[in-house]
């Protein structure tokens, strides 16, 4: 297939960007949840 490398790269870019972005969101959600837990504990302790 002519120009397959361009087609394949475009296809990979679409899903790689979405996947990396979704992964970063999941990571940030986990970090924020951990921070909320810590802040709640800090409030309860005082």
């Amino acid at each position: 297939m002519k120009n397959f490398e361009f087609l394949f790269t475009a296809w990979m870019v679409v899903w790689a960007v979405f996947f990396i972005y979704e992964f970063s969101i999941a990571r940030r959600i986990a970090q924020t949840r951990a921070e909320i837990e810590r802040l709640k504990q800090q409030l309860q302790q005082r």
Binding site: M1, K2, N3, F4, F6, L7, T9, A10, W11, V13, V14, W15, V17, F18, Y21, E22, I25, A26, R27, R28, I29, A30, Q31, T32, R33, A34, E35, I36, R38, L39, K40, Q42, L43, R46
Partner: protein, 243 residues
């Protein structure tokens, strides 16, 4: 949680089917042949971007009218997801242009207005990082998002209003426009698939922003009680636990 996993699995299946249809079912285009298949992801990315930026525009107006934080959270989510879709479009476009036009990029009206749109919304995200006060940040962001959205109709209409290197519109583009019925069906399928991905990512981003708001409120409460919220805010152990 179970519903979330089911929806994600369904969207993943939709993506797989759309990819298969775009690469193997859609017919070869007469002049460009296989490389034309980038069209299915490229146009779908722009469609997702327009939808995400429309959400951001609507949320920004709603925030200025109501002052509710949830609209600000939806606004920033729409912008961030829109920028991601725009980035995909700006990468897949040159990958299509190089073998067809012989060049990666040209400063025609369509491409330039799109690049400006991308820069404007990158500036929006940078602006949010520079303002500390939450109310001020939300108001400024909403005004800036509305201002940046003025470029969206220009991006859409650029190749209708001016002669551009970018192809003329094939959908609703005048008497000579139109798509082969099978290409049209596959394109519609790809548009739906990428739209669903965009919605899924947008909802997650919105959830993150609402959690950040909760964390900010807790920090404010701790500070107002005279406690030090940054006591162990970024200790390595907690960071590891968060990951």
């Amino acid at each position: 949680m179970k519903a979330r996993i089911t929806i994600t699995a369904l969207v993943a299946l939709l993506i797989f089917c759309a990819g298969y249809a775009a690469l193997f079912i859609a017919p070869d285009e007469a002049t460009m042949h296989a490389i034309q298949r980038i069209f299915y992801f490229h146009v779908a990315s722009w469609n997702a971007m327009f939808c995400a930026f429309f959400v951001a525009f609507y949320a920004s107006v709603a925030y200025l009218v109501t002052g509710k934080r949830k609209w600000d959270a939806l606004g920033v989510s729409g912008v961030e997801v829109g920028v991601i879709c725009c980035t995909i479009g700006l990468i897949t476009g040159p990958l299509w242009a190089r073998p067809v036009w012989g060049i990666w990029w040209t400063w025609d009206a369509k491409l330039t207005s799109t690049f400006i749109l991308w820069l404007l919304f990158i500036a929006y995200l940078l602006l949010r990082g520079l303002v500390e006060d939450p109310e001020k940040k939300a108001s400024l962001s909403a005004v800036f998002a509305i201002f940046a959205s003025l470029d969206i109709p220009l991006v859409y209409l650029a190749n209708r209003l001016w002669r551009t290197q970018h192809p003329q519109p094939v959908i609703a583009g005048g008497p000579d426009s139109g798509l082969d019925p099978m290409i049209g069906k596959v394109l519609l399928f790809c548009l739906i698939a990428e739209f669903c991905v965009m919605i899924l990512v947008l909802l997650d981003r919105y959830r993150l922003e609402m959690l950040r708001n909760d964390a900010a409120e807790l920090r404010y409460e701790i500070e107002s009680r005279g406690l030090d919220a940054s006591d162990n805010a970024a200790t390595p152990a907690l960071q590891k636990g968060g990951e």
